[in-house]
Amino acid sequence: MLLALLIAAQLPHVAVERRLAADLALRVGDTVVVAATAESAGMRAVVGAVFEPAPDPASVLKREYRLRLHLPDLAALLGAPDRVDRFGITLEPGASADSVARRLNAVAFGFRAFPSRAIAAESSQTFLVVSRFHRAIAVISIVASAVFLLCIMLLKVEERRADAAVMRFVGVRRRTIFGALVLEAALVALTGSVIGTVIAFGAGALTNAYYQRLFQTSLLFSFITPGIVLFSVALSLLLGLGAGALAAARLVRTRPMVLWGRG
């Protein structure tokens, strides 16, 4: 037991990602063999820690496992001593990342320096494309909804032709009929918006629950902000009111006898 502990103390330590530990039933203290290639012998190491990697949208679909080693251990494993992929640099307070990067690049050979912000922007290109795609789908959905709304409003208003005719016969003004129909359209649009918002929250919660389970991540896939709610409600109110107003205007412009079916 003591010998085993002594041997373990001399072995390099690795930290394994929680998913990997779960899938291979690893615990802290277990001994593993880590190799650079499938055919090489590799090195024995002790699991020193189990960690949860920071949620990374770029890698969630790849489902890779993460392992952390001390730099010299990894370099030795890869047979590439004193070689690294990158340096991370923390600046003194007040120092500008852009100007430091510029100075470094002026004397650089075989490497380039980037402010972290630039890396983040570059690596988020994928998500910018996805955002553009979502926006395009949203635009198409809005157009479809607008057409659909206009059609339904027209149908609903036309159903009231006879009522509108009778109201005109008894002297109710066009303005009053128009206002009543637009108010009705506004109420329908508002009610629909509220229901739609509730459905959106529900669907968002379901989406997050499903994909978080599927990809074993704590990333949020759907996130509804107050701004999004406000925008959606405002847009649907606008569309509903617009459609209702158009349909109502068409109705009140028609002669009462035509509405009655005798024109």
Partner: protein
């Protein structure tokens, strides 16, 4: 007598708006049907474009997915070519190299290739490399532009840079033999191709005879999946994937788009159902007197249902026809957005127009729209004649 169809002309604006609504829903449905299988088909087509059905890569990796390499490439090659099911096998090595243009140092992606067994490029101008041609170079269009090079020009490439010494190592002078289209390159990628052995030497991989992957072509009549299974047993330390395996792995990565396509496709159908059902319900409500009169004079319930359902079906069919044109146009727009993913091969498409996709989307939409009219039509046929006539008279 088709009075159901003619009723669509009674209210032209209403009909036009309904058609527009159905067309947009149809367009969305068609796009989603194309999206649901588009990129996989596009990917499979690309993988098979040169006829190589199997890829052999380091264990746990997909082609060019990681920097891992396979050692002892010559031995692997010989064993692959010795297999009776294999018609051709070629190795590829991928690595970064550098070239100077003026004061600038350009980084290029280099493919180390075996010209007599390659499946990753097509020559557009000039010529291909000869077997064993160690100093030949192939450029992508973007690389040629960046280097200001044409066929026949000499380019000096560097395999290793030493930042500490500010120097380079493993330089080679190569002659541009051809401008090629690299099948797996993203738009604007600066890629070069040179003999495998030359690139191995330049990047320090000659000692281990390391390559990134092998492409394998099965003989005519040999099932690629069976051959892949056999090669898997022969090479337990490597990942052997047939086209189907690669597409399946790719499908997992594209899961989001497939699921999105199912959800949006379903929403489109729902919109169609709502639109057609609402339109027919309101239309029926407006024509109650007409409908019960028909029943009174002896028109059967079935006939009434048939005419009203036909009205809904006509609306859906016409809307679907408009939706096909709109859907193809929006598909191009959406495809242009998605194919701008960084690193995505330029040959990929997310929305692949296919006759069977159009037919499927159309058939599903038409069936759905037709069925949506069934309930209002059924209700109309069951209206109590006398009670309805009484109500109409008041």
């Amino acid at each position: 007598m088709g009075w159901g169809f003619r009723n669509l002309l009674r209210h032209p604006l209403r009909t036009a708006l309904s058609l527009a609504g159905i067309a947009v829903a149809a367009a969305m449905l068609l796009d989603m049907v194309m999206l649901s299988g588009g990129i996989e088909r596009s990917f499979a087509r690309l993988l098979l474009s040169r006829g190589y059905q199997i890829r052999v890569t380091p264990a746990g990796t997909l082609p060019f997915d990681a920097e891992a390499t396979l050692p002892n490439a010559s031995r692997i090659r010989d064993r692959l070519r010795a297999d009776p099911g294999v018609a051709a096998a070629g190795a590829i090595l991928g690595a970064n190299v550098h070239a100077r243009r003026g004061d600038s140092l350009l980084t290029l992606f280099a493919y180390g290739i075996e010209p007599d067994a390659q499946g990753i490029y097509e020559v557009e101008s000039g010529r291909d490399l000869h077997r064993g041609e160690a100093d030949g170079l192939l450029l992508s269009g973007a690389a040629a532009l960046a280097l200001g090079a044409r066929v026949g020009d000499t380019i000096r490439l560097t395999g290793r840079l030493d930042p500490q010494l500010a120097g380079s190592g493993a330089d080679r002078t190569l002659v541009t033999r051809g401008i090629v289209r690299w099948l797996y390159d993203y738009r604007g990628q600066r890629s070069v191709g040179l003999a495998l052995g030359t690139l191995q030497e330049m990047t320090g991989r000659a000692a281990g005879d390391r390559v990134s992957l092998f492409m394998v072509k099965a003989r005519d009549g040999v099932d690629p999946a069976a051959l892949a299974a056999a090669l898997r047993r022969q090479f337990p330390g490597a990942a052997v994937n047939s086209i189907a395996d690669l597409v399946a792995a790719f499908r997992v990565r594209m899961l989001y788009f497939r699921q999105l396509s199912y959800i949006l496709g379903t929403v489109s159908l729902l919109v169609t159902v709502l639109l057609v059902a609402t339109l027919l319900t309101i239309t029926v409500n407006e024509r109650l007197g007409e409908i019960v009169t028909l029943r009174a004079i002896g028109v059967s319930r079935l006939h009434v249902v048939a005419q009203l359902v036909a009205e809904g079906a006509a609306l859906t069919i016409l809307g679907a026809a408009g939706g096909v044109a709109l859907g193809l146009a929006t598909a191009r727009y959406l495809d242009a957005i998605l194919t701008s993913f960084p690193g995505l091969p330029a040959a990929f498409s997310f929305f692949v127009p296919r006759a069977d996709a159009i037919a499927l989307a159309g058939a599903v939409l038409i069936c759905t729209g037709t069925l949506a009219g069934l309930y209002p039509a059924w209700r109309a046929s069951r209206l109590p004649i006398a009670a309805t006539l009484r109500a109409e008279a008041t």
